[in-house]
């Protein structure tokens, strides 16, 4: 039943990817409307998205930010170890996507990092792999893989709690569940015919994902505050930053200019 629901969701979201242009909202920037430009996307349903965004913002102010501030009170070595532990588990999803993207070099790097950090690094709490020259190449997810395969971002919307996304990235969220070994280990806790692991439960998965989210929020408290304080349209700012960030991640660009359009600057000289 659960699987059927997921397939239905994927089908709906795939349609949204295809129909991104047709569902263009009535508002949004001229650039954001032109989904053919990299780092841009149409709105799926801006009114609803703005309402969900407000809800998420209120939720963040009431719960997530205070939790993140509390988390920050924990001594740095413990926070760093927690972040490393979560990142190490998360690298398994990255590995699946490295392979799907055909990036075998990155896959080798991710696998090597996981092996070293899980063993020498004591279950990923420490990061000796970096000291050995295996730098963290960054996270990958199925939304990025779809992007690498050439899928258009589709339209943009905001999900309750999970935040900004595009149709492609929402499909990616579902795909992540299929590709993430941690998801499977924690969701197959019922032992049937000797298969499954009763030591874990679904809760473990959500603790792991929740901890990752709190760690990220704690690292960005000031950035979020500054963005909020200095935006004249916070919704549009977050949308722009989200789309730019996804574009950058999909291109796996190390250069700051590869995802920037110099043509935008040329216009002011005319």
């Amino acid at each position: 039943m659960m699987m059927l629901k997921k397939l239905f969701l994927i089908a709906v979201l795939s349609l949204m990817v295809q129909a991104g242009n047709a569902f263009a909202g009535s508002t949004g920037s001229e650039d954001l409307k032109d989904s053919n430009k990299p780092g841009t996307a149409n709105e799926c349903f801006e009114g609803v998205s703005r309402a969900v965004f407000k809800f998420n913002h209120a939720l963040d102010t009431a719960i997530f930010e205070p939790v993140a501030r509390g988390y920050r009170a924990i001594p740095l070595p413990i926070r760093k170890g927690t972040g490393n532990f979560v990142d190490n588990l998360r690298s398994l999803l990255t590995l699946s996507n490295n392979i799907l993207q055909g990036d075998l070099g990155a896959a080798g790097n991710t696998a090597g990092r996981f092996a070293i950090n899980t063993t020498v690094g004591i279950l990923g709490v420490f990061d000796p792999a970096a000291a050995m020259g295996l730098e963290d190449p960054g996270k990958e997810d199925f939304g990025q893989t779809l992007g690498v395969w050439g899928t258009d971002s589709g339209c943009y919307f905001v999900l309750p709690i999970l935040g900004p996304t595009t149709a492609r990235d929402a499909v990616g969220l579902v795909g992540n569940a299929f590709l993430d070994p941690v998801y499977h280990i924690t969701h197959n806790s019922e032992v049937k015919a000797g298969i499954g692991n009763s030591n874990y439960s679904e809760h473990n998965y959500y603790y792991y994902r929740g901890t990752g989210a709190v760690d990220f929020r704690a690292k960005n408290i000031e950035s979020f505050d500054s963005l909020e304080e200095n935006s004249i349209d916070l919704y549009a700012s977050v949308k722009s930053l989200y789309l730019q960030n996804r574009e950058k991640k999909i291109s796996n660009s190390k250069s700051p200019i590869e995802t920037q359009d110099d043509g935008d600057w040329e216009e002011i000289d005319n």
Binding site: T27, G28, S29, E30, D31, L32, R72, L76, K219, I221, E222, D225, S226, E229, N230, S231, I232, D233, Y235, A236, S237, K239, S240, L241, Q244, N245, K248, S253, P256, I257, T259, Q260, D262, D264, W265, E267, I268
Partner: protein, 200 residues
């Protein structure tokens, strides 16, 4: 006669000091950013008052940022729809908005540790200077790249800050555009929003 000569000498001396002061930044983009970072660091030390920081950072921005260029860029193609007077009003508002936003963003940092790493010439108009805001107990390391406008090679100017690959100018442009589009293309709403921001 002697008195006049003395006055002229003093005048030339003072003029040269003032001129030197306002053009004190290096024409080499990497060095230019290093000097700006060092100057900002001096201003941002905790012992300085907020008013002092705001005043000094505003002066720094006026001397080193192409505020007019960023203002035009932020307006995008709407610029061509504005009358001369509207454009003048917009630029006055934009400068105030920009300085308030710029000083507010920077004031969050006390004693920032920034390493200027390298510079890459894109073309005769632009050079990208790469730098790194070092990690603290609370914040992770952040890559900051500066888009430097070098059309006048003797006086480089900052046009954009690209933080971890995300352009602040582009974000601002899309924000402005969203405000205008949300009001059926009425850019006077943008003027009102900017005024609200300036006065808040």
């Amino acid at each position: 006669m002697k008195k006049n000569f003395f006055i002229i000498v003093i005048f030339i001396f003072l003029t040269s000091i003032i001129t030197q002061k306002s053009n004190a930044y290096s024409s080499d983009p990497k060095q230019f950013i290093t000097e700006i970072v060092n100057e900002a660091k001096k201003v941002l030390v905790d012992t300085n008052t907020k008013e002092f920081k705001t005043e000094k950072l505003s002066k720094l921005a006026l001397e080193t940022v192409d505020i007019k260029g960023v203002g035009y860029y932020s307006l995008g193609s709407y610029r061509k729809q504005l009358t001369k007077d509207q454009l003048k009003e917009y630029m006055t508002l934009f400068e105030k908005y920009f300085l308030k936003s710029f000083t507010s963003r920077l004031s969050d940092y006390s004693d920032p540790k920034i390493e200027v790493i390298s510079a890459e010439v894109l073309n005769e108009k632009y050079t990208i200077v790469r730098s790194l805001l070092l990690a603290t107990d609370k914040k992770p390391e952040v890559k900051i790249d500066w888009r430097i406008y070098t059309k006048n090679p003797d006086k480089p100017l900052i046009r954009d800050l690209i933080i971890e690959g995300l352009s602040l100018a582009k974000t601002q442009k899309e924000e402005f555009s969203s405000v205008i589009e949300s009001n059926n293309g009425d850019f006077t709403k943008l003027f009102i929003t900017l005024k609200e921001f300036i006065n808040k």
